[in-house]
Symmetry: C2
Subunit: 379 residues, 2 copies
């Protein structure tokens, strides 16, 4: 039987009122018993296990908003099965979008979420009261020693967080161990020289049977954070890494391979729920996503929704940092400061080389812009 | 440096010719170096690491087909990174669809793919020259003992493969160990009585740190196959399970949470590449997908494409079974036999209870239909 505790999922469903309502009724069955209710003889299963429509109302022309509640027991308190109840089979049906989750206290208490969160990550970096600076060593093809030299320049220039490019895993050009060794040592050297507190973040996205070992290895080699692309590895691996006391490093979520979930306005998962709620539940301390105005297609409104999702009330699950990236350049920083305020991590890659050949100086300029100590030029 | 071996990805890209070509050029950079090429000083990185346009031609009005080749070294021979090169960041950009993969011999040789494949699974089941029959125990909420009784009836009635419903993981209603124990024992009992060769397939989709143990446990408890939903767990976990000699059971891929990748005709991954090529590469022996004409929205054409993908030439990677499900009913079987022939696994759930209360008899009738020994009635 069930405890009576239920959690809510808000869906947006296309169609006229009758069509949309039929879809919502179908969701209740499809996501739980997946069986014709008329052939179920146990009354309590029909009452409690099948999803329950708690609300149904028009949202836009031909679009309805529905809240469905599910018994917490259907999730088995597993992230994989929670995602399955929320959007498993219905991901295969058109015109259904997961808009927002409202997880119940008992369910939330079964997840630790991010180990650090915004506050913890600031302490880890000893950086209060300002946006954080983030960049990546690249391009793929450079040897580990060259990538290390880049990491050194970035750290000398005052970038808080220096990460592997998300395409760097264990290629022969710059194997994992060698790359992390060079990059972490380079950042430490720069810190020792400048008194800075920069950290190196290792990309551990890789084979499922190696990720945990790569995380531990990265830590031993001096990495002070980890990056994972949950759409490539599975969200639950991120959760496992975040929960692991033997690892205990901040986790940065990368959006590679995740785009299809938000490619449609009437199907998939909302940016708010996916980059905010689900990514937090899965233990990331910061969520990378493509910023508006860059080379990707996310709108400013969507980026604001993600930011909301990173801090929306979720019991004891900590707020995490939004980390817009993808085409951010130095001239954009003043506008971005107005949009994001100080609770943000700006991820700038190619933008840091476009100003001129002195990368260290470009980084210093980036930092001055962030601190409000320089005006943007047109570089 | 690189070996010179390259693999191909065929993309469909929206736009007029100039727009589409610019998009294709962008893919070459975005999926590899992710860095402005004009700031890369190493000529070989620009020549060999950046993707290379091998073909570009009109496909439909405002839609272009492009073949891009990538150096095999960019993948680090990891499934996660291969998927990242194919569709990582560009999943976040509109109007780009992965249509087809053409993996090179050296790259293919790094993956084992399915352990059984079509031929191996037929041997495992001792069932030659006919479609295979597949069903699921459900609904969620029933205790393990009741689910076991259902498995018994299905096996008595001659269903070849009896699996957990994909929503059954480790809920308190029917915990994993107890459920597998009951179901596997029930199928064995029925086999002993009838001389049948039915198998029970355990759903091991679950927490990343428990999946492998669940696989081993299921095997010890008598399960003769495993089901995984790769969109929930990550594709690479399926690969890991398939490669594990200590497990060595057939693997059934379930499409839960995978729908967004095929929700659009101009974005995502084609059914052919996703359900066929990628699922095979990731080690599934059979791929479950929603059949046409049922309660999902896949068209007949799409189902044919999936079937093509399950057997398209991929070096030594074995062909696997297409397993259409989702709303298949007994009256549909004759038509489906014409479409699929005998190289198919028909997954029927609710359809097996709609004919009447005697489930064992319904299964027997299903089997007779498959064998061409009964005519479809209108039940």
């Amino acid at each position: 039987m069930v405890s009576g505790e239920r959690f809510l999922v808000e869906y947006l469903v296309t169609g006229d009122e009758a069509e949309a309502y039929a879809k919502v009724q179908d969701i209740c069955v499809e996501q739980t018993v997946e069986f014709p209710p008329e052939f179920i003889s146990e009354e309590w299963i029909k009452e409690d296990v099948i999803g329950r429509i708690e609300n149904f109302s028009p949202a836009f022309p031909n679009l309805y908003k529905a809240e469905i509640s599910y018994a917490v027991e259907t999730t088995a308190y597993e992230l994989t099965q929670l995602l399955n109840v929320i959007y498993g089979n219905i991901s295969l049906k058109p015109g259904i979008l997961v808009n927002r989750l409202e997880l119940s206290p008992g369910l939330l208490s079964m997840f630790h979420g991010p180990r650090f969160g915004r506050e913890g990550l600031r302490k880890w970096l000893q950086a209060e009261g300002r946006p954080l600076l983030f960049t990546a060593i690249k391009p793929m093809g450079l040897p580990a020693s060259e990538l290390g030299k880049l990491a050194y320049k970035f750290a000398r220039g005052g970038i808080d967080i220096i990460k592997d490019d998300h395409g760097l895993t264990n290629q022969s050009f710059a194997e994992f161990t060698e790359r992390i060794k060079y990059a972490a040592a380079a950042v430490n050297k720069a810190n020792a020289e400048t008194g800075g507190k920069s950290i190196f973040v290792a990309n551990i996205t890789g084979p499922s049977d190696e990720i945990r070992e790569r995380a531990r290895l990265a830590k031993r080699l001096g990495a002070k954070g980890l990056m994972v692309a949950p759409a490539l590895t599975g969200f639950d691996i991120m959760r496992q890494l975040a929960d692991d006391d033997g690892i205990a490093l901040p986790i940065f979520s990368h959006p590679a391979f995740l785009g299809s979930f938000t490619a449609s306005e009437t199907s998939g998962i909302s940016h708010f729920a996916l980059y905010g709620q689900i990514t937090r539940l899965a233990g990331a301390d910061a969520v990378i996503y493509p910023n508006f105005g860059g080379r990707f297609s996310f709108s400013k409104k969507v980026c604001e929704k993600i930011t909301e999702g990173t801090k929306a009330q979720m019991g004891k699950i900590k707020p995490i940092f939004p980390s817009p990236g993808g085409g951010i350049t130095l001239p954009l920083i003043p506008e971005l400061l107005e949009v994001y305020g100080e609770e943000v991590i700006f991820l700038m890659g190619g933008g840091l080389v476009k100003r001129g050949p002195d990368i260290e100086d470009n980084c210093r300029y980036f930092r001055q812009l962030i601190m409000g100590k320089a005006k943007a030029d047109s570089a």
